[in-house]
């Protein structure tokens, strides 16, 4: 196989494949694949990781003491007050970061301030919304041993969206969206939210309004109508994302009624570290040693069973660095964090592609320590990879996405029990969200799934519907999705997709579908995450 040649282009984000180009690697679930791309293919690379703040603890302290449009945190603390701290769950960041987790660092600072100001009625709520409840060891890893020992499980716990006695309806927007939140958060004198922003969709009003709400509130925005009106989930401007628009108007009601102190953070994109850090480099810049490590990784992963491969990746923690932290009022804080986020993630690109190639990695927000089942592969391709853009999608209307993933028909029954029924029963009925949403309430109110959500570690029964709706905008835009390397073509078919054993076959299928012998092909070399600013 031809070796990559030294890079000569000056653009660090874009490379065009020519006759002398070497193979590119793609994520292939919990494996990697090397693919030879056709001549002329445009490969888009993420930005290099921004330098992290030198002293994150000092930056956190500064943010707490110099908040935006709010009194400093210490000035809001008084003995006898009721304080609730809500934190993002295990879905952020991806993969989980090396210890100390950012949440531990921020919580440590907050709790120290509380101790200094005589605040002892403190509860910490993990804002899981309808995500699965985190296990004790997962929480311990996230908040650190000291806080875990002191607070878990009585004063540090998962939000329970189905504990209806502890859900309070605080407002209804003029559009009729019901804002219902965790009682403890509502009845506190101060609610502090500790956020980690990995993609621009996170944070802002979404943190409290979604993280601490129930099914009725989520239904206001997680539905087919809203999803179809989204231009890009990652472009949070109200005219671009209907999702952001609805969440924002509900969040404004929250801010009217609750005293919320937001702490938002932005991370750089250093997803891999140590012996895996070569994965962040351009292939042309790999040393001989990097290449040897890559080949060894491929050989090992190819030989392991799927569970073994997952176990390997689950042990890899990201050395993310903090690039910004701000505190204070929801909206101005979020804007500052968005600016920092886009500085890290935004990649300017000229022109859309007929065919978009993308590897699907082993992890999504919904399968940390779990299996990336077919529905989650679907949401990764059409919900996330497709939506990582501003201005215009990277792939043209009715274009083709070729996704690399083995697509095994495998589910984690503890975490995703309702996904199994959705996949087999509902998708056999239809893949059109407007047809299948009539089954939503049946899943949402299924007492078995509610039990498994509340007292087990299962995603809420309705969650697979959201995963499907999440793919709606992508499904409406893209003409065809072809899964390259799918082990079982029936799985791709169940998702409404096609499959191909190799890239050449997939490209032939794409050419035939598009009626073009020389389609414009672009490969998104993610992860790490990037958001393409596409100029049409």
């Amino acid at each position: 196989m031809a070796r990559p040649r030294p890079r000569i282009t000056r653009d660090p984000n874009i490379e065009f494949i020519d006759d002398k180009s070497g193979p590119r690697y793609v994520h292939f679930g919990a494996r990697f694949k090397e693919v030879m791309l056709p001549r002329g293919t445009r490969v888009i690379y993420p930005n290099k990781a921004m330098e992290p703040l030198q002293n994150p603890r000092a930056a956190i302290k500064y943010a707490l003491n110099h908040p935006i449009e709010a009194d400093p945190l210490y000035a809001q603390l008084r003995p006898g007050m009721k304080l609730t701290i809500a934190i993002d769950d295990i879905s952020l960041p991806l993969p989980p970061m090396q210890r100390p987790d950012l949440r531990e660092m921020i919580l440590t600072e907050i709790l120290e301030l509380c101790a200094q100001h005589g605040v002892d009625d403190i509860e910490i709520i993990i804002a899981v919304c309808l995500h699965r409840h985190m296990t004790g060891p997962e929480v311990r890893r996230m908040v650190g041993d000291k806080i875990f020992r002191e607070y878990w499980p009585d004063r540090l716990y998962n939000h329970d969206a189905e504990d209806l006695d502890n859900i309070v309806e605080i407002a209804t927007t003029k559009e009729g969206d019901r804002v219902r939140l965790n009682r403890r958060a509502v009845e506190s004198d101060l609610l502090v939210y500790v956020n980690i922003n990995l993609v621009p969709m996170d944070g802002g009003h979404k943190s409290v309004t979604v993280g601490l709400c129930d099914y009725i509130s989520v239904s206001a925005h997680h539905n087919t109508h809203v999803m179809h009106k989204c231009h890009s989930y990652m472009d949070p401007r109200p005219d671009k994302s209907e999702l952001s628009k609805v969440v924002d108007r509900m969040g404004k009601e929250v801010d009217k009624q609750l005293n919320v102190f937001h702490i938002e953070t932005a991370l750089n994109n250093r997803m891999f570290g140590g012996q895996m850090s070569y994965l962040l480099k351009h292939e042309n810049d790999w040393s001989e040693f990097d290449r040897a490590k890559f080949q060894a990784s491929c050989a090992l992963l190819d030989r392991l069973p799927e569970a073994g491969r997952r176990a390997v990746f689950e042990k890899i923690y990201a050395p993310y660095g903090l690039i910004a932290v701000h505190a204070g009022k929801t909206e101005p804080v979020h804007q500052k964090i968005l600016d920092a986020s886009f500085k890290q993630y935004a990649v300017p690109v000229k022109g859309q592609a007929d065919v978009l190639l993308a590897g699907v990695p082993f992890i999504s927000p919904y399968n940390v320590n779990s299996i990336l089942n077919p529905l989650l592969v679907q949401v990764m391709v059409l919900g996330y990879l497709f939506n990582f853009y501003r201005n215009a999608p990277l792939v043209k209307k009715d274009g083709v996405i070729i996704a690399f993933h083995p697509l095994p028909e495998d589910f984690n029954r503890t975490h995703h029990p309702s996904y199994v029924e959705f996949y087999h029963r509902i998708l056999s009925h239809s893949t059109n969200s407007y047809d299948i949403h009539k089954f939503e309430k049946e899943f949402a109110h299924n007492p078995d799934y509610i039990q498994m959500y509340r007292h087990g570690n299962a995603y809420h029964g309705v969650h697979p519907f959201y995963m499907w709706y999440w793919g709606d905008a992508g499904r409406a835009h893209v003409g065809k999705v072809i899964v390259c390397g799918a082990e079982n073509p029936r799985v791709a078919k169940q998702l409404g997709w096609e499959s191909a054993p190799d890239l050449n076959t997939a490209l032939d299928m794409a050419r035939s579908y598009l009626g073009k012998s020389q389609p414009e092909i672009t490969m998104s070399h993610a992860p790490p995450i990037m958001v393409t600013d596409v100029e049409v």
Binding site: R413, H445, P447, Y449, I450, Q451, M452, H455
Partner: protein
């Protein structure tokens, strides 16, 4: 179309079983000698019951219910109430009580179907506000238990047949009916409905549930 949720009881809704129930009866025999005899006999028989249960629930029932021979019917009803108040009430799984409430709110008929005897089940069914309950019935002769169960004995496949008959009689759609059980002996019943759920399953049922993608609930 209407639907129902069928529940096994021992190990599914409550953390006791028929042996615990009989131990309570044995302890409450009026005479000291009777108390001692029945309790000692029960203790000595436990290994045999374990083996019998492995061979099949029918064998177990044939051997186990012989213990009740000679107990009067009215006393069994009284002891049934006491058993519920003193033993069962505190061992009812709170998670399952919440689940039954949600299931009822969804419009499902709530049905208990158990191999335990009716004297033990009636107070529980009333407590849980169950629509219908079906338990085994002891045979009585002149007001005293003979130690045999009145056929058909509810166990294993018979429970499955019962669920099918019940669905037919009540115009239920079995595809949307639910069934909850903890033991592999109830796999026939679970297989009868469209939505089977394993609750605190034994290893055999757990393996079956995993193989067939049935939800598994760990209830407490």
């Amino acid at each position: 179309m209407a639907a129902a949720a069928f529940y096994d009881v021992d190990g599914t809704l409550i953390g006791t079983n028929v042996v615990h129930a009989y131990a309570f009866y044995a302890r409450n025999v009026p005479t000291f000698a009777g108390k001692l005899t029945r309790s000692a006999k029960l203790a000595a028989s436990l290994p045999f019951y374990a083996v019998a249960d492995k061979l099949g629930r029918k064998y177990f029932n044939d051997i186990f219910y012989a213990n009740y021979k000679g107990i009067s019917e009215d006393r069994l009803w009284v002891l049934g109430e006491e058993l519920f108040d003193k033993v069962i009430r505190k061992r009812v799984f709170g998670d399952m009580v919440a689940l039954i409430k949600r299931s009822r709110d969804e419009g499902y008929r709530q049905v208990l179907i158990t191999g335990a005897i009716e004297q033990m089940i009636r107070p529980l069914a009333e407590y849980l506000e169950i629509d219908d309950w079906f338990a085994n019935t002891l045979e009585f002769d002149a007001g005293y238990a003979t130690g045999r169960l009145t056929p058909p004995v509810l166990a294993g496949p018979e429970k499955a047949a019962f669920v099918r008959r019940y669905a037919l009689d009540h115009g239920l759609d079995l595809n949307v009916c639910r069934a909850y059980a903890d033991s592999a002996s109830d796999i026939p019943m679970l297989s009868t409905v469209g939505r089977p759920v394993a609750v605190n399953p034994d290893w055999n049922l757990r393996a079956t549930a995993v193989a067939h993608d049935w939800p598994i609930i760990e209830a407490a």
